[in-house]
Amino acid sequence: MNLLYSDVETDLRASVADLLGDHSTDLWPRLVQVGAHALHVPEELGGQGASYRETAVVAEELGRFVSPVPFLTSAVMATAALTHLVDDPRARDLLQRLASGSATAALVVPLSSWDSWPDGSGLVQSVAGALTADVLLVPIEGRLHLVPSADATVTPVVSFDNSRPLADVDVSGSPTTALSGPGDAAVRAALVAGAGVLASEQVGIATWCLDTTVAHLKDRHQFGRPLGSFQALKHRVADLWQSLVLARATARHAATALTTGDDTPIAVSVAQSFCSPVAVRAAEESLQLHGGIGMTWEHPLHHYLKRAKANEIALGTPARHRATLAPLVDLPGPVGAFSGAPPSPTVVP
């Protein structure tokens, strides 16, 4: 279990950061060009043959830039679901299109899904990635169905986090193709991969918030001193840094566990339940320590706050992940009470 960043990962981070820092052209095609969207996809399926560890590094950078790209939804979640059903040639074919960058896909579940999700035969609310996806992956009655998004009703909603815009999706009446293989397990695989990678995105967000706040505290003067010389503020950023050290270790562990398949359920829920509160607190502290400017639409901080807070709900809140952990780590709840969510999903019809 190596929790450090390899040299390759460090180089990858630098090249993705260069790319994300340049706002002159559309981001997604350039991410595709460097292969960042298909790092953990095997080479025989047109991917880079790397692993979730590299993918998680990209997610960190996307968090640092709150980039509005369908990375989590298509490159991670839809890809994980399809990989699970790769024996079906139609799944394989779509997977190859995703890996080549010629299409994106989205799993039609509410972004908040973790241990359960609604059946996709009716209206599904708050789906991420659907607005830009070419193909929708819809769980209906235990199977995953392919639906070209042009055939579905995809209605944009006003999203709390504009950088990951949501839509309500309705495929009733659309022609759908059922993929063979266990659809529920495929959805589950997508949610687990998504949650594990999302932890790294939260680490990226927290990193930006901490770095930006520290820079501000060095620069801004009040009472004839830099703000950063006031101990009340120093201790708050020191605490943030401390939590981030821990968060980074959990996120690296989750990415490693997704790669090896070892300890995955525990590693993912530990990372998700730990990193989200850290990212949210980093964004909130950042806002407070910026004062009035932090409250403005003009300053980029609010994008980070909104993304961090939305991410806290996405793919299972911290409390849900703790409930998932309870049976896995043998810490049962009160006698006679619901003792935590089961490790396998229950599908709510």
Partner: protein
């Protein structure tokens, strides 16, 4: 087979743990270079990477070999030894073997009534007299002084210069005339630490570590290693305080509530995060790029053990109202997770004070890691003797 593994095999062949006397085995282990492999050859090490140690420890433990009871000699291992290694003479290096085997316990004579967080303000005076130094002053909160054969000591050799410049670092013989150790009873009931009065204690100049006036720099080596030691141990999932509290939880289904359940799970997650951060820190050390993460570990450890032990007392309800024993004792070793829940709760309070308080750690993180400006100082360029006290 690696060199370390070969040496382990040879040691075990020559000294069967089942039949060897404990001390004989430990001495042989030291002489084989398997005590602390990152130390130089001849001083209990192999000049190898720190990472090799775990392999050695595991192989020896698996063979049923005795260990040196590291918790009993933590100050020697974690603080005195790295400092002696870095600054010591060949003669001083001879102290390392009995230190490591535990034959000689060490203590740390740093804190004083007037100098805690502000260690550099300390007042214990050392005056040169021929080949000796004559030391007079009072130290306080000295853990294990009652068991100690030796101490690491910082004293003031020049009061006329600013406080950091006038310090010198010594090895002090705790059996020397003029060393008076008196127990200080703690909130747990026992006396783990002491006051140590030094009255005209003669310390040969050959027991000085580092140059005269360079004591502050030498002390930094000690304190840095103290923090590494705290983050440095490999631990299994659910080891330490979380393991104790999780077992208590499992043993008392009737006392569980939904609110307590979520709190415990959050603490479990935090413990796991801290464990993983420790794993990562050790990997950085092994890769030769130690980060500043050690101070994050100490801060997190203190917070977590306090939260967990407080949770446990509350969870135990009526049993939490009882305490195992208030008898004044002088313990041989410190066990944060030993005894009852009440003891653990009270002892954990010291975790954010001993070895540098959490507030001081936050200052260090803010200034040295994050690069924030220091607070305006009133004591920087003033001779120590002119500072207000």
């Amino acid at each position: 087979m690696s060199q370390a593994r070969e040496l382990v095999a040879a040691l075990l062949a020559a000294h069967d743990p089942a039949t060897s006397e404990r001390l004989e085995f430990l001495r042989a282990r030291f002489d084989a270079g398997l005590a602390w492999v990152h130390f130089p050859v001849g001083l209990g090490g192999l000049g190898a990477a720190r990472a090799v140690q775990q392999e050695v420890d595991e192989a020896l433990a698996a063979a049923g070999a005795p260990d040196n009871n590291p918790r009993r000699i933590g100050i020697g291992l974690g603080m005195a030894a790295p400092t002696i290694l870095a600054y010591g003479s060949a003669e001083q290096h001879r102290l390392l073997r009995p230190l490591w085997t535990g034959e000689e316990v060490w203590c740390q004579l740093f804190s004083e009534p007037g100098a805690g967080s502000d260690l550099a303000a300390l007042a214990t005076r050392a005056r040169r007299d021929g080949d000796d130094w004559v030391v007079t002053g009072q130290k306080v909160w000295t853990s294990s002084a009652h068991n100690a054969r030796w101490a690491i000591l910082v004293a003031r050799t020049d009061p006329d210069v600013p406080k950091h410049a006038g310090l010198t670092y010594f090895v002090c013989d705790m059996t020397a005339p003029g060393v008076d150790v008196r127990p200080l009873r703690q909130i747990t009931g026992e006396a783990e630490f002491n006051e140590v009065f030094l009255t005209d204690v003669r310390i040969p100049d050959s027991y000085r570590l580092g140059e005269v006036g360079d004591g502050w720099r030498v002390a930094q080596t000690t304190l840095m290693n103290e923090r590494v030691a705290i983050g440095g141990r490999a631990v299994a999932r659910e080891a330490g305080m979380i393991g104790v509290v999780a077992e208590t939880w499992r043993a008392h289904p009737d006392r569980r509530t939904a609110a307590a359940h979520d709190r415990l799970l959050a603490l479990w997650v935090e413990a796991e995060a801290l464990r993983l951060a420790g794993v990562r820190l050790r990997q950085q050390l092994a890769a030769g790029s130690p980060g500043p993460e050690g101070s994050a570990m100490k801060l997190g450890f203190a917070q977590l053990s306090q939260a967990l032990s407080g949770f446990e007392v509350e969870f135990l309800a009526e049993d939490g109202l009882r305490y195992d024993d208030w008898t004044m004792r002088r313990p041989e070793l410190v066990d944060f997770t030993g005894r009852g829940a009440g003891y653990r709760y009270l002892r954990a309070k010291g975790n954010s004070i001993e070895g540098g308080t959490s507030e001081v750690l936050r200052n260090i993180i803010a200034e040295r890691v994050l690069g924030l400006p220091a607070e305006p100082r009133v004591d920087k360029d003033v001779p120590w003797k002119d500072l207000p006290r």
